[in-house]
Subunit: 197 residues, 2 copies
């Protein structure tokens, strides 16, 4: 689709760099921007630049932060570390308002097929963090897929010699879902990990 | 979902102003921005501001433009005017690379339920444009829904006394689709407007 207006075409191109945004969606966004007020657009542009200028990674947990170490690392109970793949997983767990420990963001999981090994993600940092602090439990909350499981196993093998309890988030049928629609692997795991009532 | 990092939270808020973008999508976009290079983010922000500063409406056709009158109005054959609802409809028609006339963007259609009358859209401008120039045909390409049809009828009634040919884009079964899935109104229109072969 040709757009005769160069600034709009450029903005459409910029929007297309966002995940899952194609030509049509980018165009819809761009036309919305044209109809925004000057102040709104200025604010939008500032937000973009601000994020890039102010947000960095916490040197302790690897999550996004404005100050280093981040607020979570500074204020939370450091005895429990929850290990996640991405910063967005921190947001998901924070949403349940139940966990009061700290996080460790790996920025990826082991994936030999794509050439991602232990040195490409923040596993070394996790080991030295557990070794240097009084950590009682490490909860591995990587995704329950092949790579997430392999990463969890690898971390458990490294950390157990340090005398720390390593746990894995439970896998089974989602709350509110229907047995009928559960896949077989999940269902078999749910039966295997059954609890006494 | 609480985000502890204020610049990210603000950017998520900004993305949510785009059409069809909710909390989760905005968050995904914002995390992508954090991982973009400095140059990319700067370019993105510039594109936003640029669009707002440089793009205005063409005083003749009402489409977006950098110069007034727009390139289409300056270079195209003005004997045929295609009337559309929105600037994005101009892009759609330009995509077929078949139409070599000019456009007239109404910026809306008649909608009495929402209080949009003839004075709220660019109908007056269309009438004086047709009156002042040597226009041979006006193709009304508003959407084939109730409001679009009503607007087309209204425009035809106003323009016919000026001696100009007013046409409406054809309605019928989409090319490549299946009779089985066509709705009844479309099918009945397709039969009514049948052509001799």
């Amino acid at each position: 689709m040709k757009n005769h207006i160069e600034p709009i075409a450029r903005l459409i191109g910029a929007f297309q760099k966002l995940p899952g945004v194609g030509q049509k969606t980018a165009q819809r966004y761009a036309l919305k921007v044209v109809n925004m007020s000057d102040a709104e657009v200025k604010e939008f542009a500032e937000c973009l630049v601000n994020v890039k200028n102010k947000v960095k990674y916490c040197s302790v947990c690897g999550n996004f932060t404005e100050s280093d170490p981040c607020d979570l690392c500074k204020t939370r109970n450091g005895k429990t570390i929850c290990v996640v793949k991405d910063p967005k997983d921190v947001l998901s767990i924070e949403r349940i308002r139940d966990f009061d420990g700290v996080y460790h963001v790996l920025h990826g999981v082991l994936n030999p097929m794509e050439g991602i090994g232990p040195n490409d993600i923040r596993i070394k940092e996790l080991v030295s963090r557990v070794g240097a602090n009084d950590v009682q439990e490490v909860i591995v909350a990587t995704n329950p897929d092949v790579e997430g499981e392999a990463t969890a196993m690898y971390i458990a093998k490294l950390l157990k010699p340090l005398g720390v309890k390593v746990t894995r988030i439970a896998q089974g049928i989602s709350i509110g879902s229907d047995l009928e629609y559960a896949d077989e692997v999940t269902l078999s795991r749910a039966i295997e990990d059954r609890r006494e009532l």
